[in-house]
Symmetry: C2
DNA sequence: CTCAATCATCAGTTAAGCTTATGAATATCA
DNA sequence: TGATATTCATAAGCTTAACTGATGATTGAG
């Protein structure tokens, strides 16, 4: 039994018109074509659906039952077509972002995205780089913002902006460092507050200091950059603060002070990545533009 | 843009398998056939639905959107097929009945019908003969119980049982008549209580008395037989009481007494009618049996 | 650099679907 | 009651859609 949409469409026309010839006109086929489809449908369901009279047709009880179901089917088909017809590309865009970027970039970016067509049905996922890349490869994400070059060949990256690392801590601690030649390599590993393993920010911080996780004795494994900043603000140590987070974190954690490294400043490149097989109707480019612009807004004002 | 069920079915298989070749196996076609349908679907909706990679496929945002809709469509199709597959003939049976039969026949018949397959989805409509026949012809009813032979050629009747007319009134009035030779023609038209015009019972009563509505001066136009019996019980006149109603009405209206006419007793034939084009898988015969049996139960015990 | 996957494309065949023409049954009208 | 005009069903021929089997292009892995 294989019921086709065509059969249902024809059947509904017949049910409405109560008349083969008229129904055939409505759906723009000849009457025999309609007859054949109805017969095929009746054969498929195994029962008579209409009673043929000399004056036209009348639905059988089974026919009425089918009519209701058929209407549901057609309604869901209509929903489908409408879902595709809406302006823009029509689908839900799955966007991933690493936790050391998301809370700072999104507040500025979201309003702009919402205003544009991209944000019409945007879903966000915050996770660490590896996870994001996995989901991207698997197709559960369409694009992701990360801060380390992807090592996979099926994924391509578009640079958004460069995010410089500042050194942040309590005012007292920072003051101790001021005036001296500040070099990442000279920092005391024991004073360094780091994010949990898996966060690229922690790894990158260690890298610019020429350290690895073993050499750092105070690995707090803090869950979020925000927490880290609050710890640093209370004098518990120093942390690398990406410039993108500067404004928000200094506002949120009183006492937190940040200084800039001398050139060449350590930095991370924030990237928008997608599968190489993805072809966008321009939304990728558009998304790059929006994120790049809002990102650069966040890093362009450079206090001290 | 003409999307077919086949395309949706194939697309869902592809979405689940993430792999043309595997999906093609699942749906038992060759891989090119699947490729073609997917391409046709993409063409129909105007956008790419899957990204082709070397390792398989991944849905685009639009693809995911379509997937959800497609599932809905398939779900409603499943509902349709299931609705047809249920035991019995599967449809709602529309049964009409005239008001001078329904309240007496239904209480006994309904439990039996519900137990059988017919009553699984039975809808009732109470109306006067003409209306019932109109709706039957129009296909809004499948069968109807009436008490006068249908005058239409597209409708055929199956006799259920014969329902004899008794004469009912207050005990005093009936006592006056007892002993005398009781002839319908001898009844005083002025004493006769009749149902509203359109009820066949009223017309039939007049007919057996050799009267018409003009000659009857006390046409109350009562709405229901039940009301009529209560009026008669209070001595306001005499009425024809179909035997089918006897037990219920004498129980409900204290003081109501009925006597039987001498043979040949006036009577009405209760019929089950259907369109001549209706062909039942036996449910019509079954319905006849049930109604006939319960009807005869009601008229078989004959108190004086 | 070759091999083994992937999906796409092409040519030929089969099946489904439509149209035109015709047939059987039934109601309408004279 | 017979002629006519409805109704829907059926049949033959054609057109288009759909599938198969073979081959090609691309890409990742050894």
């Amino acid at each position: 039994m294989n019921i086709t949409l065509r059969q249902l469409r024809y059947f509904l026309a017949l049910a409405e018109q109560g008349h083969f010839t008229r129904a055939a006109e409505v759906i723009h086929v000849t009457q025999p074509a309609l007859s054949m489809q109805i017969r095929a449908l009746e054969e498929a369901v195994g029962t008579r659906l209409v009673e043929r009279t000399a004056a036209g047709v009348v639905l059988t009880p089974q026919g009425r039952a089918l009519e209701n179901h058929a209407r549901q089917v057609m309604a869901s088909m209509a929903g489908l077509e409408q879902g595709l017809r809406r302006p823009g590309q029509g689908g839900r865009l799955m966007l991933g972002m690493i936790p050391t970027v998301a809370p700072y970039l999104l507040p500025s970016a979201l309003p702009i995205l919402r205003a544009s067509d991209i944000g019409r049905d945007l879903h966000l996922r915050e996770a660490q780089t590896d996870r994001l890349l996995d989901e991207l490869s698997a197709g559960r994400l369409d694009v992701a913002v990360i801060a380390s070059p992807p090592d996979r060949h099926d994924i391509v990256a578009q640079p958004l902006f460069t995010d410089q690392f500042l050194l942040a801590g309590s005012e007292a601690r920072i003051d101790q460092l001021r005036g001296r030649a500040l070099e990442p390599h000279d920092l005391d590993p024991g004073n360094l507050l780091l994010l949990d393993e898996g966060h690229c920010l922690g790894d990158q911080a260690l890298e610019v200091c020429g350290l690895n996780r073993r050499s750092s004795r105070l690995d707090l494994g803090a869950a979020s950059l925000s927490t880290l900043c609050r710890l640093a603000a209370q004098g518990m140590g120093l942390t690398f603060l990406p410039e993108i987070a500067l404004r928000q974190e200094t506002a949120a954690a009183p006492g937190l002070t940040a200084i800039r490294f001398p050139d060449p400043q350590p930095a991370r490149d924030v990237l928008l990545v997608r599968r190489s097989s993805t072809e966008s109707d321009g939304w990728f480019k558009e998304l790059v533009d929006v994120l790049r612009q809002t990102g650069r807004e966040l890093v362009k004002n450079r206090p001290s």
